[in-house]
Symmetry: C2
Subunit: 83 residues, 2 copies
Amino acid sequence: MADLARTPRQIGTIIQRTRKKRGWTQSDLAARAGLRQATISTIETAETPAKLDTILAVLAALDLEFQIAPRSLGDNADIEDLF
Amino acid sequence: MADLARTPRQIGTIIQRTRKKRGWTQSDLAARAGLRQATISTIETAETPAKLDTILAVLAALDLEFQIAPRSLGDNADIEDLF
DNA sequence: TCGCGATATACACCACAGCGTATATTTACA
DNA sequence: TGTAAATATACGCTGTGGTGTATATCGCGA
């Protein structure tokens, strides 16, 4: 089930949760994503909003991906199109 | 149905498609997102990877949102967890 | 085809994310 | 409790994305 991600904070939380689920340290994830441990730290705590490609790299390293969906309809939004 | 968004280019395409569906110009979208028309242009053409909060602002203006889901399982990924 | 709205580009400037390096500080476990 | 691993911070530097202003180019309807 896809997690909602409207803010950098929510994104950071999801990344951290998934990383721990994989049993990886921040350094592990950093190495796989081609980043520094410190960068993972700032992303997870959402200290500063990251760059899009940085987040995409982290998600890829975690075997995750973004999806884009209509907001107002909730998760089970399967409505064909928003007019 | 949620669109997959693994690259800045895919994200730009989805944003453009949704904007046109709304019947908005780049200037319209820019105004609603607190950005410039030129910025919308570079995002849609994926000329340069944007910042995360910029993309989030554009998505919000379009009443869209990110979701985060496992990559390898396709869209109907409802599997409990990928630990 | 003409003209105007829509989109793409240009240039100087500023803000800031991520880097390298390094060190606090916290957490977990023997 | 002590200590090593894991995480959070620090500092100067660099690359670059977004801004303001402005213009060039494209596309489409009359």
